[in-house]
């Protein structure tokens, strides 16, 4: 009884906080502040997963999203100096159109949900360990198992990692061999043996 009451209070409290923080993510002019708000939204999402009895997912959410993605986003915000260079004020027309599209989507989909009847089986008060079930399903090679998608997603993550490194790496000009030297022009040349340095940088012989 008291647990259910608490779950209700937590749901509505977290829901209000999530909506406010999500609005802050999309409205805030300072992108670093938006990243911090995004961190709040994602943490609250982890709390929602716990309320939905998906404990393992809550842990993954905190590890991957809050600990990984948001930190990388904050890094890139500072690397690209977005919070100073580009204060993000949408023009009124654009804002109005965006509000119209978002409100239209929300209205249509909520109306559709309201009118559809879901066949709900009796809520089994599942105190079952869903972590164990997820582990079994992920490595199950049978018909209802997920071992193939699990392996495919590992390849996808590897490809994304390599792709990220390759794309973000400093590419040398066409006439210059690639070095792992440094980020500034001079440093990259200094890492090469003398005979391979580009002509313009080679010192005149004594």
């Amino acid at each position: 009884m008291i647990e259910q009451a608490m779950a209700t209070v937590l749901f509505y409290g977290f829901a209000a906080a999530a909506m406010v923080l999500a609005l802050a993510v999309t409205i805030s002019c300072n992108l670093l502040r938006a990243a911090v708000c995004l961190m709040g939204v994602l943490s609250i999402q982890a709390a929602f997963y716990i309320l939905l009895a998906a404990d393992f997912l809550a842990g993954v959410q905190v590890l991957v999203y809050v600990g990984g993605i948001v930190v990388v986003i904050a890094f890139v915000v500072t690397l690209t100096r977005s919070s100073q260079l580009l204060m993000d004020h949408p023009s009124p027309l654009r804002m109005l159109l965006a509000i119209a599209v978002a409100a239209g989507f929300a209205g249509v989909s909520i109306a559709a949900l309201w009118m559809s009847a879901f066949h709900q089986p009796g809520m089994a008060h599942s105190t079952m360990d869903s972590t164990r079930a997820i582990g079994m399903a992920l490595l199950d090679t049978g018909g209802s198992g997920y071992v193939l998608p699990f392996e495919v997603i590992s390849v996808l993550l590897l490809a994304a990692m390599i792709g990220g490194i390759v794309i973000a790496r400093k590419t040398p000009p066409p006439d210059q061999p690639f070095t792992s030297g440094g980020d500034r022009p001079g440093e990259a040349d200094a890492a090469l043996p003398k005979s391979q340095r580009p002509l313009r940088d080679r010192r005149a012989p004594q």
Partner: protein, 110 residues
């Protein structure tokens, strides 16, 4: 009071409306932002609310299985991969033209 709260717990429709509203806020951010990183954050919001939808359906419509949770797990993994590649592209773009304003990326315009 406690009895009232206990008997008015969130049902399926409440969870779905919550995730719908979060998704709509994500759409607003996606359409109104000019900075590419802001757009990426809005996309993350939308991915998250969609993943939560899967978990909600799992919990309320098929409480015996964990298929929805596994779908959410895959969504999180793909979102991580997508964020890495997108952020790498933003860094490369910023190096190339000192700005990641999507309004100024129109070199492929017909």
């Amino acid at each position: 009071m406690i009895q009232y709260l206990a008997s008015h717990g969130p049902g399926l429709i409440h969870w779905l409306i919550l995730s719908n509203v979060l998704f709509a806020i994500g759409i607003y951010g996606l359409l109104s932002r000019r900075n590419a990183i802001g757009i990426l954050m809005a996309v993350e919001l939308m991915l998250n609310s969609a993943a939560m939808n899967a978990v909600v359906f799992n919990r309320f419509l098929a409480p015996k299985s964990v298929d929805g949770e596994i779908l959410a797990l895959f969504v999180i993994a793909v979102a991580a991969a997508e964020a890495v590649v997108a952020l790498a592209i933003f860094v490369a773009l910023f190096r190339d033209r000192s700005s990641i304003d999507v309004n100024r990326m129109d070199s492929m315009k017909g």
